[in-house]
């Protein structure tokens, strides 16, 4: 049953949750409230054996309600099942044992390149970005890298990024307008969100959209929305909106 009353942050969270499978090992980093909530939602819906890994090192925290400003805080350890430190999560991914990694980025191009480093010249940048955090080693090694970005405009989705921070096993990119999928060595349109149109997505994308048929993103279900309110009562999933 589709719920009609949802916000963009709810939609993106549910879309991401649906991408996760039971039993997978999944990692998110700092400034990652939205995927953190999505992982939690997945664990309460269809993926009870998903293994939630994170920067502070708490394996499968039972609650994310105390997260407040941070997705790298002690709350994730406090309510966890075990402690597995960041450096070991990285090692795990190097060994091909991390199924999914959530990563950010500022610029993306049609070739699947990710830029989280600079706008302009690398050594004397016009804009120094925060950096890719773990991206440069996780996107090449996690089995599936999922990127979420709460901005979708022609400066974000470009023909050619200013700088290639990394590329590799990019799987999907979730935006406020659509979901991209990386296949055939290029970024293709996977689905368009229900509230928008293919024309609007194209208008905000700096390269021509590639698709066979237009599919619409599944809207959050009533069950998902109920759970979301329960699991994330402080609405951390909307922190970036």
């Amino acid at each position: 049953m589709v719920n009609q009353k949802y916000r963009l942050s709810d939609l993106m969270t549910c879309v991401i949750a649906d991408m996760l499978e039971d039993g997978e090992t999944v990692f998110h980093g700092v400034s990652s409230q939205l995927p953190m909530v999505a992982m939690h939602l997945a664990r309460h819906m269809h993926a009870p054996h998903l293994v939630h890994l994170n920067i502070p090192g708490g394996v499968n925290p039972s609650s994310i309600k105390k997260a407040a400003f941070s997705s790298a805080g002690p709350d994730l350890v406090e309510s966890s099942e075990a402690y597995f430190q960041l450096d070991e999560v990285f090692d795990l991914s190097m060994r091909g044992k991390l199924d999914v990694a959530f990563l950010g980025g500022i610029q993306f191009d049609m070739h699947g390149n990710v830029n989280a480093s600079v706008i302009g010249d690398y050594h004397r940048p016009k804009v120094r970005l925060p950096g890719g955090a773990g991206s440069a080693v996780l996107i090449p090694t996690a089995k599936k890298a999922i990127i979420w970005r709460t901005k979708h405009d022609i400066r974000t989705f470009v023909k050619q990024v200013d700088f290639v921070t990394t590329r590799g096993n990019l799987w999907k990119i979730v935006t406020p307008l659509c979901v991209f999928i990386f296949r055939n060595n290029r970024l293709e349109l996977d689905s368009v969100h229900p509230h928008t149109t293919i024309e609007e997505v194209q208008e905000h994308t700096g390269f021509p959209l590639i698709y066979d048929e237009v599919r619409y993103t599944k809207a959050p279900t009533t069950k998902q929305m109920q759970l979301l309110r329960q699991l994330d009562p402080h609405d951390y999933r909307s922190a970036e909106f």
Binding site: V30, P56, G57, A72, L86, D87, M94, G132, V137
Partner: protein, 277 residues
Amino acid sequence: MTKVKALNEVAASVEDGATLALGGNVLHRAPMAFVRELARQEKRKLRVVKTAGAHDIDLLCAVGAVDQVDAGFVSYETVYGLPPHYRKAVQTGVVKANEHACYTVISALRAAKTNVPFMPVSGLKYGDLIEKNDYFVVVEDPFTGEPVTLVRAIVPDVAVIHVQECDKNGNAIIHGPKFEDVLMSRAANRVIITTEQVVSDFTIKQQKERIDIPGFLVEAVVKVPKGAAPAACYPAYDVDDRALREFLQLKEADQISHFIHRYDQQDHREVRGERKW
């Protein structure tokens, strides 16, 4: 043989140009009192190392103390946004940003820990980071002939780690996430602990299994309650939201200076009071 010393005395031992590993992660358990003291003492040309930094790196950049930053991520988290002083310093060419994947900072510190000149990194395969930065190099594996990326070691002269409990001998216990702090304590030439509490030897002995940094690795212990503020220190205090938001608005040097000096009393409490051990 107590290792407990005053904040100003220990900060004075950090030389201009030193490579400094800072404990904690983003706004968690950053050694802010020590960082502020470095600012007060007008240190220069520091090389700061951390997987993910925020207010610590931003403040040091704000006072012109920094030459290079080795990090995978420099930013406050979502709600506080980007680090204005770090960005400005890099964009104007004052500070060199040695951009890493967070993991390559870990690898570079593991190299230091084991005293080898480099560490192979299997995940760093693609992109411009490898080409643009001279601390990465791709070589041929002598065993298989396959290409492998190496990151050059980063040997911190000093690691500064803020903890919740430490005894006078330097036996330190971190509560909650430890981040890269234990590794830093094994990678740096000198280890400085700042601590919320200096507890008795007996208190530490009773929970010796939880000691993260054994005392024999530690050079100095500084007692600084609220030593991570305005960053958070679990479970004692959360971020000081007002102070952070205020800092992010500051632009002029005298504003920054004023902001730092507001912490003078708090950071130096132990010097003026109960310094005997």
